[in-house]
Amino acid sequence: MTARKRSSGARARGRRPRRVVPARSALAPTGVVGRPGLRVDALAKVDGSARYIDDLRFPDLLYAAVRTSDLPHAEVLRIDVTDAQQVPGVVAVATFRDVPGQNQVGCVRPDQPLLVETRARWVGDRIALIAATDPATAKAAARVVKVDAVPLPGVFDVEQALATGAPAVHTGGNLIEEFCIERGDAELALRQADVVVEHRYLAPWQEHAYLEPQGVIAVPERGSMTIYGSMQCPFYVQSAVARLLGLPLSRVRVVQTVTGGAFGGKEDYPSEPACCAALLAHKSGRPVKFVYNREQDIQWSTKRHRMVIQHRLAARRDGTLLGAEIEILVDAGAYCGLTGIVAERANTSSVGPYLVPNVRVRTRTIYTNNPFGGAFRGFGAPQVTLAHEGQLDALAERLGRDPLDLRRQNALRPYAVAAWGEKLAPPVEYLETLAAAERLSGWSALRRQVEAHNRAGGRTRLGLGVGCCMYGSCLHAGGQHLEGSGALLQVHRDGSVSAAIGLTEMGQGAATVVARVAAEVLGVAVDQVEVLPTDTALVPDSGPTVASRTTPMAGHAVANAARQLRAQLLPAATGLLRCRANQVELSGGWARGPGRKKVAFADVAAAAFQAKAHLAASGWYAPPRKQFDRATGLGQPYSAYAYATQIALCEVDLATGVARVKKFFCAHDVGRAIFPDGVCGQIEGGAVQGMGYALTERLVVRDGRILNANFTDYLIPTIEDAPEVAIALIESGDEGGDKGRGTASQAKGPFGAKGIGEPSLIPAPAAVANAVSHALGARLTELPLLPDVIMAEIARRNLDNVPFVESAAT
């Protein structure tokens, strides 16, 4: 095994990651996979030539504005748009009466009208849409829409929403659905245990804060609609617009434009602005642009779900875990959206990568009049990870044990049975991530240093915290019907290659991964591969770009298409090289034959074209079917698992309560790093986004309205807040399959790659919260740990009655 390591952050740039790779593997890549290099889209994004949605113009373009509800919960009696229609420059005004198809944008359940009919359920609910010749006119017209509404009592807390007599957000009550895991006898385990640790965790909302706000342009033609926009899931938008306009899918085309970040916030949500623009374009017959400003984006778009987690963990005195009883309440907001799917993952992930024989988990999703919960990097897992990792550290403290050691003792190993009853096929790389993080951080020495610093007294205290996770790669069994994924590859007669995929590049690096996989299989250079914008007209429905599934799913589909093309090219290569097909090697832009004979790939492509070979291929990949029982929460929920251990070193200033992450260590099981620089970039980004969630990102919500819908008061980390991040990559590099009897398969991506987008964030908030708790010697269970929250603990115990400056005391 070889090892490489990399640190980053303001202070240490350019060091390489520590990589743990098997020496030799049958499927080991020989070309560009695993090598350093540039992102394929780097230069266009740096020099400004990349065209985002707001850069695009169409003739006769109109601009959209929305009139939303002023009240978080109200009966709407009358909507009067006559004044708005008379504002000069207004071309179209639409209410629910103008919807030709279904007035519905609920992406899983049909509970969400695009436009309010009689009931407004939160402040983001749309009442009327305006299209005008300029944005200011549209906005002014939206203000003069008259709405007669009677306020209804609202409900803004999940626990209150479940109480009898609570205002019902929808008829049928506020409980949407329940998920569970029932295995063994958790009650008995808790009764018989030597130790039970119980805490209530509060994981708040989080704003995605992508750099580019939501935006779309709808372009109508007779009987059809084309949508351009910033998005993650063009096929979701296609279905939503077709349903709204009553059109067949074939008449709705969706083209993704260069997307400046998404993080889940452009999974389900873009269907809403797209439907608004499409309805106005349909009504006016002109292209309509709808691009949010930052305040609108934060106020209206989805957030990471707020969850309340009651967690009881039972153990023997020697640290062996015996059972867990977990109650999770998920605040959906006024509509269900993806809440059920998020809750399903939270439910499954709530125990963590530990051997716990007796498990009872209950997860309930609940309507309120609060901001709308949706997809966000980690998809319910960061919230439950805060809880299970908090519990592990709390238990370690109670038993006087080393937190890493306690995790090692209870770690899931190959052939162990996970909380959901699945016997895990090897490789199970959790222990490897623990060991790598321990080495990377110099754990024992660092712990001694921290203890010495805190004994010395003074203005600051240090703390060390651990966060671990086991991430189910790709979609949950509940969504596996969406798991098929496609690609279209074409070799041009000059040897250049076009690649189209059904999943999207949204800043995470998918295009680079796709180009590398195609280049690796075809034996061309990466810059010979052009990755096209994702377009529903080019590639079949490939499901959503979510769940860290793009590298595995689109990767396999591209590899599949590239292998077909290779077969089409081989006759031309054998002709040019005068050899047999099995003697030809395609690599690095050359076809090599026996001896030292070689011809350029371009010449092979030209010869194949002359010979009338079919030089396009459609690739497809779908993972094997998984068996899962929703009623018990048992079975095989995911195709593969990615493990991670992260360690945070935090410093708390006793004078102000400010906590900072000083150093951060990440050990990730990535299967295979196809683009190592990209993997490390994603890990750094995910870790820092998780730190923001833990420390500074507080959404101030009163009566369902966000009071800090701006970047002045909603504080995401800056480069000054980003610490040095050291990374270790564990690469077992094996595509896996059905091996090991009685165990499920470990279906991974091409060359054994696993997605890293989400595991990079999931343990980070937990690690930071554990570190701050360690520094203060108190368990802090509610995020974000802003200075005022920390100060309350400092003040309670008068920890700030120390000299802040040493020499002043003498």
């Binding site: 004078a655 102000t656 500074t696 504080l715 480069i719 000054e720 807040d721 200075p787």
Partner: protein, 301 residues
């Protein structure tokens, strides 16, 4: 209401007369880092703007008694000025850490003052140094001490005809042994509005506090002086007991509120700690200088 016209002033005189003759709903713009956001969010309205950026009021002039800072001098220029760094370290620190480099390049001292935010970072140092603001109305110039300038959040004593043209900070005499500190609490490392800021200046004579100004921001409708804390310190030695007493007293000099950034209770605790921290740092500096000085005199002897 949308901005219909923008007039660019080419000199201080022209700016002063444009302001004097300005119609209602006319606003001044310099860096625009606050105003542009306020206009977009509808927090302030304007039909016409007078642009001061080319009015030539961006000087920073130093003589032996004072530093005169033109109203449109940028925060970045303040941060880079060696005289400010040497004589007014609290003002230097406040300027150097305000927002981000991009904002410092645009934002002006006049804008920071006239926006009249209780959290403005430059205002607490100006209070600690007893700065004087020169205000022009047509051809008349008057001086307003900074502690009489603000009347509430976003409000000050200037009328529609008045233009802030210059900020004057008088240098302490070397014999006065002035030390000063600026402390800012924001909830992240950079580009953040203060939840509390504090500037403290202090002069010692024969080991006793001869004069001190303790200015606190974001804890009252305007930036305020901690008068009772100052009173407790005057004539005292900088002992840990005196420092602690002053820090406790400062809490009674403020009237913080709960807002989207934080709570009143938290701000009180931080004010207490900030006053103590600033005074402890000054005491440590004095102790270090005294030790250094006596060492030097011993070695000379």
């Amino acid at each position: 209401m949308f901005v219909q016209s923008v007039v660019r002033a080419r000199s201080e005189v022209e700016a002063a007369w444009l302001v004097y003759e300005g119609k209602p709903a006319t606003r001044l713009i310099a860096g625009g880092t606050d105003l542009m956001l306020q206009l977009r969010r509808g927090q302030r309205q304007a039909l016409a703007l007078i642009d001061l950026r080319r009015s030539g009021m961006d000087h920073i002039l130093e003589n032996e008694h004072a530093i005169c800072i033109g109203a449109t001098a940028t925060v970045a220029a303040l941060a880079q000025h060696p005289g400010i760094r040497a004589h007014f370290p609290a003002l230097h620190t406040a300027a150097a850490t305000l927002a981000s480099q991009q904002i410092r390049n645009l934002a002006t001292i006049g804008g920071n003052i006239c926006n009249a935010s209780p959290a403005a970072d430059l205002v607490t140092p100006l209070l600690a140094y007893d700065a004087v603001l020169r205000v022009r109305r047509g051809d008349d110039v008057r001086e307003v001490p900074v502690d009489r300038f603000f009347t509430g959040p976003g409000q000050h004593v200037l009328t529609q005809q008045d233009l802030l043209v210059e900020v004057v900070v008088s240098k302490p005499l070397p014999s006065e042994g002035e030390r000063s500190r600026f402390l800012k609490l924001g909830f992240r490392g950079a580009q953040v509005i203060a939840v509390v800021n504090a500037a403290v200046s202090l002069r010692l004579r024969r080991g006793l506090v001869a004069e001190t100004h303790i200015a606190l921001g974001a804890v009252a409708p305007t930036a305020v002086r901690a008068i009772s804390a100052e009173r407790l310190l005057r004539g005292e030695k900088l002992t840990p007991e005196a420092i602690a007493a002053a820090a406790e007293a400062a809490v009674d000099d403020i009237s913080p509120i709960d807002d989207v950034r934080s709570t009143a209770g938290y701000r009180r605790r931080v004010v207490r700690n900030f006053v103590r921290l600033a005074l402890e740092e000054i005491a440590a500096q004095v102790a270090a200088e005294t030790a250094h000085g006596s060492q030097r005199s011993r070695s000379r002897a």
